[in-house]
Amino acid sequence: MATTIPLPTVAGFRRQRWLARFVRRYPMGVAGGVVIIVMAVTAALATWLAPSDPLRTDFLAMFVPPGANHLLGTDAFGRDVLSRVIFGARTALLVGFSASFGGATVGAIIGVISAYFGGTMDLIIQRLADILISFPIIILALVIVAILGSGAFNLIVAIALSFVPRIELVVRASALGIRRTAYVEAARAIGAGHWRIIFRHMVPNVVAPYLVMLTSFLGQAILLEASLSFLGLGVTEPTPAWGLMLSGAAVDFVQRAPWMAIFPGLAITFTVLAFNVLGDSLRDALDPRLRT
């Protein structure tokens, strides 16, 4: 159904034309992209945009409903919910981007190498990846977080690691196709080095699945971060993070202070939605075969 737009190449003018065509064909994706940019700017300028310090507690102003002083109300410690939602964007984007880039890149590298060299190593890596994807991603991430300990950085590593086997399998499949093509065989025949072949011929050809997986990871990573923090195994207090804001008091006092539960959840949903529509559009544009 979706029309394929040729892959962007290094040539600048072609890229511009590609972008223009993308904007024309996928308005939803563009909308998603705009939301993400706004989000990123908010996160970057959080210090100036937030009405107050997200960590500042005020025991005289606990559970204040949304109003003039606190646009989105305050939480169980009297902290400003709006400020925490704004600063929470930082945590979400930081964890989301780092985990997705890290996981996708490491996974892709392993996939390409595994496909290129083949043999026993390939076999072992494949079995391992097969096994790792037989665990629900949240269970894998839970165990890794338990091993590493909580906190934003460990959470990034945990989420990234649970992405690795998933992208590895996809990239390896694409890379394997190229590995068997005549030009790679020819390059090997004329004695080109392994790394030269990998970087010149194989890597450019797995860019499409890489990007597609990457964008689909972004939303997932943010959701995972929220879920793990919600379960008390992710980012820890007092760091402002949306999932964390939804755990504990937000649930305990949902009827008394519903704003504590509603706004962080909306923030998660909007962000993930934006990433997902952008991801969908990119996938359709890059490679409709990868549509799931």
Partner: protein, 540 residues
């Protein structure tokens, strides 16, 4: 010639009364808290916030197993809840302590039957306490060390059990009244000492019906209970609910009438707002507290001046006022519970570092000490805390704010219980919010945490202080109540003021909102002590 005692308190104020009490206490029944006539019938549902690990109380420390399982059992002696810390007989009809304090003779109640119909004799009591005090083979008894003064237990006739002790111990009777000392059946223990880990067979007011893991525990009235007319309830149902919101919802909706451990002020308000005069609230002291332990192996925490500055910076009196509005903390106290029999009188308390009424003077002194210790303005360290919001995170946030006011920049590091303990044990922290919580006011128990790191598994401060160890030992053998109090004050001064190894922030404050129709329940100072459900009844 044997003299007997009816109370076990070492409280100076009640000292005279205690010595006068030469009368045997014969099966004193706890008084109903209201004038209404108790009514039989009904099933009580209540919330338990955690689940029992095993069913054998001798090897557990959690209240989570007491709340649902305790009603199946009796103790030898127990705390009289309306008159805590008074000890009364449970299976013991009466008892006598020899004048030298070395022989305890308990007369066992006659006509008590186990739920399987068999008769309880002194042999069962002896077997149960043998398991607690002299565990054999791979049997683990958690509180074994608190009975090291006991030399032997003998069942001289079917209704008499005699405890011989090596030295006079002021705390033995209280320790015997531990809510964990359930009396088991000797034959079953002889067959398999681990039998009780997975099975129930007691003499208590309620018989076991079912346990659905993760869901509930149910019991039904023991029709052959030894106390006539008890229990009042037809049965009970303990609902295991971990989520705090679900706990509150359960009480609000009437699916449960009470949670015996307690709620936070905000939850109390929620429940009261929703149910109005259908609920009553009991509040009071709690033998639990939050402390801060310092890693004395790290600079500058190895410097007593720095630690003293840290305790001086905390405005406990103002903190108590503010925090008690929002968290389950409140009373300001030293090493023993404020309001308890060993509390520090306020006149003495305010002399300790950090307990003075003049906070600006204390903070000025703190700044001076910081300068002397060579700690610069804006010095940064980490405060390790446990990811339990109530009250740990509140206490942590409070501390950070207090220390900020003397120019220290403290980072809150909150970890899940597993890594939190691992870090504490490994000395992988600067300062940590710590805690103690027990079922009785007793220096043997509360001060143990302060004894040297090689003696106490709960001392994470990494320090060795033989003076405190010596004081602790003396205290555990000192029988004279006045001298005991003096030793406690001495211990307190050294631990909190001179060495400042660990400091108390605030003691906890217990809040139990429950349905008014639940009667016959008097909240005690420990959630471990609460219900054997024998005297609880439902008004309708």
């Amino acid at each position: 010639m044997e003299r007997s005692r009816s109370t076990a308190a070492g409280r100076s104020r009640v000292l005279g009364i205690a010595l006068l009490a030469g009368v045997l206490v014969v099966g004193l029944i706890s008084h109903p808290t209201t004038a209404q006539q108790p009514r039989s019938g009904g099933t009580l549902s209540y919330v338990v916030s955690a689940e029992p690990p095993s069913f054998d109380a001798h090897r557990e420390t959690t209240f989570a197993m007491l709340h649902p399982i305790r009603p199946h059992y009796n103790l030898l002696v127990k705390f009289d809840m309306p008159n805590y810390p008074k000890v009364i007989g449970d299976l013991a009809e009466s008892w006598a302590i020899s004048p030298d304090g070395l022989t305890y003779t308990f007369k066992i109640r006659r006509g008590v039957r186990f739920h399987d119909g068999s008769m309880l004799t002194s042999r069962d009591v002896k077997a149960s306490f043998d398991k607690i005090i002299f565990p054999q083979g791979d049997v683990v008894s958690v509180r074994q060390a608190t009975y090291e003064m006991v030399e032997s237990i003998t069942a001289s006739d079917p209704n008499t059990v005699v405890f011989k002790v090596k030295w006079r111990s002021p705390s033995l009777l209280l320790n015997l009244a531990s809510p964990f000392n359930w009396v088991y059946k000797a034959d079953l223990l002889a067959r398999d000492p681990h039998w009780y880990e997975r099975n129930i067979m007691g003499t208590g007011p309620f018989k076991f019906v079912e346990y659905v893991r993760g869901s509930h525990w149910a019991g039904v009235r023991n029709e052959n209970y030894w106390m006539k007319g008890r229990p009042y309830l037809d049965g009970y149902r303990a609902l295991f609910i971990r989520s705090v919101s679900a706990q509150v919802a359960a009480v609000r909706s009437g699916q449960a009438l009470i949670e015996f451990r307690g709620f936070s002020p905000a939850q109390r308000d929620d429940i009261m707002k929703a149910l109005g005069d259908k609920v009553v609230v009991q509040e009071g002291g709690w033998i639990c507290n939050n402390l801060v332990v310092f890693n004395t192996k790290r600079r500058p925490f190895d410097d007593a001046r720095f630690r003293r500055a840290l305790t001086l910076a905390i405005d406990r009196w103002a903190g108590s006022k503010a925090l008690s509005q929002i968290a389950i903390v409140g009373p300001v106290g030293g090493v023993m519970r404020p309001g308890g029999p060993f509390e520090a009188p306020e006149a003495e308390l305010v002399k300790l570092a950090g307990y003075g009424r003049d906070i600006s003077a204390a903070r000025a002194e703190a700044k001076k000490l910081l300068a002397e210790a060579g700690v610069p303005e804006g010095f940064t360290f980490e405060l390790l805390n446990r990811n339990i919001q109530m009250p740990y995170e509140f206490v942590g946030i409070f501390l950070i704010d207090q220390w900020r006011q003397v120019g220290l920049n403290v980072k809150h590091v909150i970890k899940e219980s597993g890594p939190y303990f691992a870090d504490e044990r490994a000395g992988n922290y600067d300062a940590a919010v710590d805690f103690t919580c027990d079922f009785m006011d007793e220096p043997d128990v509360q001060l143990h945490k302060f004894t040297s790191a090689d003696r106490s598994p709960a001392n994470y401060g990494q320090y060795i202080d033989r003076v405190l160890d010596q004081l602790y030992r003396e205290l555990s053998r000192e029988r004279d109540p006045a001298r005991r109090l003096r030793l406690i004050r001495q211990f307190e001064k050294r631990a909190l003021d001179e060495k400042v190894w660990q400091i108390y922030v605030l003691w906890w404050h217990r809040i139990i909102p429950h349905w008014a129709k639940l009667k016959g329940f008097k909240m005690g100072p420990a959630h471990h002590l609460d219900p054997d459900l024998q005297d609880i009844w439902l008004a309708e």
